[in-house]
């Protein structure tokens, strides 16, 4: 009976996390399109609801009522599984994101590794969807994206090592609290830039949206998807983008900490700072989508392996030697 109570309590907590995320994903899609429109001197979606806020809900409604078409030659199980996996993985990762010191679903020891593991699983949704469609464009898109996501994960991993060297713990709350005096964006600024660009590549955002480059691949791995299944890919993608923004704000921008621990700033509740930082990073994502042209594929690979990987490796050596020389290595509580 006690076990049942805990179970119900947990489910209640999970619902309270998942529903706001889904709603904010809908809002973020609107924000993305709106920023995109404003940069290009268009209006963007502004008809449905106040300022067009309900545009995404209208779109989602449209997707729900559309017919789902499964190609005759597709591998049905995997074809249906792919969008489900994308969506689930994008939501599951939010379990460890701390919105404040206590407002977190599960505060685990290896939080950052969990985030990294989940984001590295994200490639499966795409590769499964692309292969199961049994058609040329999706397959090429999936192959491209598998190579792209695996390569940029490597540099993200090494950037995380940089931060972990300074923190001395894999716990996300510890990472945030270690930035109480100085956000890591200042000492590790080059790493923040590399992380941001790698996050763009990892989430298949422009200028790295090669897996779905319209001009070459129709819509890449999503070509054969329709209706609700397409919408799930789409929502999962945006939930992943939000997740990357959350990761960036935890690793570099001090998570739920206010910028300065002074009077008007530290009375603002912690979750607001976290949300504000996520929104700020997302705004950068949206602006970059509007102003940067798409990379060519070989340039993308060159950037990942020949520029970012050596650069972040050198930075690991630099950070480690700096910490060792000035005796700043985290002693930690262990």
């Amino acid at each position: 009976m006690e076990y049942l109570n805990t179970l119900i309590n947990e489910i209640y907590k999970i619902l309270f996390l998942v529903i706001p995320i889904l709603v904010s994903v809908a809002m973020i899609v609107w924000l993305d399109r709106r920023v995109w429109g404003l940069v290009q001197k268009r209006r963007g979606p502004n008809v449905v609801g106040p300022f067009g806020l309900f545009q995404t809900l209208a779109d989602a409604l449209k997707y729900i009522f559309k017919e789902i078409i499964i190609p005759a030659s597709a591998n049905k199980t995997i074809f249906i599984l792919a969008p489900i996996i994308t969506m689930t993985l994008a939501l599951v990762a939010w379990a460890v994101i701390p919105l404040s010191e206590t407002l977190v679903l599960s505060n685990i020891n290896v939080g950052i590794l969990y985030l990294f593991a989940i984001s590295s699983l994200g490639v499966y949704g795409i590769i499964m969807g692309g292969w199961a469609s049994n058609s040329k464009y999706p397959f090429l898109g999936a192959i491209r994206s598998a190579a792209q996501m695996v390569s940029y994960e490597v540099s993200i991993g090494i950037i995380i090592i940089n931060v972990l060297l300074c923190v001395g713990s894999l716990n996300l709350n510890d990472i945030v609290l270690a930035q109480k005096n100085l956000w890591y964006v200042i000492p590790l600024f080059p790493m923040f830039v590399v992380f941001f660009i790698s996050a763009l590549a990892e989430t298949n955002r422009p200028p790295f949206d090669l897996p779905e480059a319209e001009a070459e691949l129709v819509a890449g791995y999503q070509t054969e998807y329709s209706g609700m299944m397409y919408a799930m890919f789409w929502l999962g993608e945006y939930a992943n983008i939000l997740l990357m923004c959350a990761m960036g704000s935890i690793l570099f921008l001090g998570g739920w900490l206010p910028p300065l621990d002074i009077y008007p700033l530290n009375v603002v509740p912690a979750p607001f700072w976290m949300i504000f930082k996520i929104l700020f990073l997302f705004f950068l994502f949206a602006v970059i989508k509007a102003i940067v042209p798409r990379y060519r594929y070989d340039q993308l690979m060159r950037l990942g392996w020949k520029v970012f990987l050596p650069f972040s490796l050198i930075y690991v050596v630099l950070t480690a030697s700096f910490l060792l020389y000035f005796d700043k290595l985290p002693k930690g509580s262990f």
């Binding site: 020891n109 290896v110 590769i127 499964m128 192959i143 695996v150 994960e153």
Partner: protein, 209 residues
């Protein structure tokens, strides 16, 4: 405790089932997908016994990187459905070597399971204290880079060697391939790129000289 048992049996049954499906499944791509499921369930089992670092590393390394490359290769090579089998159709030529390997693995398993009987003796005879206050990430890190640094470095060198070996075996230098030099492209300036020429009427100019 009940919940623990339920999750344990769920993940272990899933692990055994997917391991069986890896070797019995007809399509190679399905085999790889079941292999991934197997990795994930074993990772969950690791996390259940409290080895959360190992579990996460298993997920990151095997599921996030190795299995993606497996899938990549299987999909790219378009390996056809496996036609050879034990009893039906053409006999596979790999069966003898497979048998040897599986007998070896069976023997090893017997040693491990047989040794289980003496587990109590070992636990009681060792005078190591099990420290529960440190997380296992910290404890792995504190021995890996001090006591076992040579083995750690050695395994790194072996991995590097295998990578270099694979590149040397597959690398062919192709002739007459147009490559881009970013330095050359960036260092182009107006003087070398644009020329002003007086063109004679009805003669034209020669390009590329």
């Amino acid at each position: 405790m009940l919940a623990h048992a339920i999750f344990f049996y769920f993940f272990s049954i899933l692990a055994i089932f997917s391991a069986l499906m890896v070797i019995t499944s007809r399509s190679t791509v399905n085999s790889v997908f079941f292999l991934i499921l197997d990795f994930i369930s074993v990772g969950c089992l690791f996390i259940m016994v409290g080895a959360e670092f190992l579990g996460m590393i298993l997920l990151i390394v095997y599921v996030g990187a190795v299995a993606v490359l497996f899938l990549f290769v299987v999909m790219m090579l378009n390996v056809a459905q496996q036609k050879q089998s034990w009893f039906v159709g053409q006999k596979s030529t790999h069966i003898p070597s497979g048998l040897i390997v599986s007998v070896l693995i069976l023997l090893e398993l017997l040693v491990v399971v047989g040794g289980w009987k003496y587990k109590e003796n070992i636990m009681s005879s060792s005078n190591l204290v099990i420290d529960t206050s440190t997380t296992n990430t910290h404890s792995i890190g504190s021995v890996m880079y001090t006591d076992y640094i040579l083995y750690f470095q050695l395994s790194g060198v072996i991995l590097l060697l295998s990578m270099v070996g694979a590149i040397i075996l597959t690398y062919r230098k192709r002739e007459n391939v147009k490559t881009q030099s970013y330095l050359k492209q960036i260092s182009r300036d107006k003087a070398s790129a644009v020329m002003l020429k007086d063109v004679e009427f009805n003669k034209g100019v020669k390009i590329d000289d």
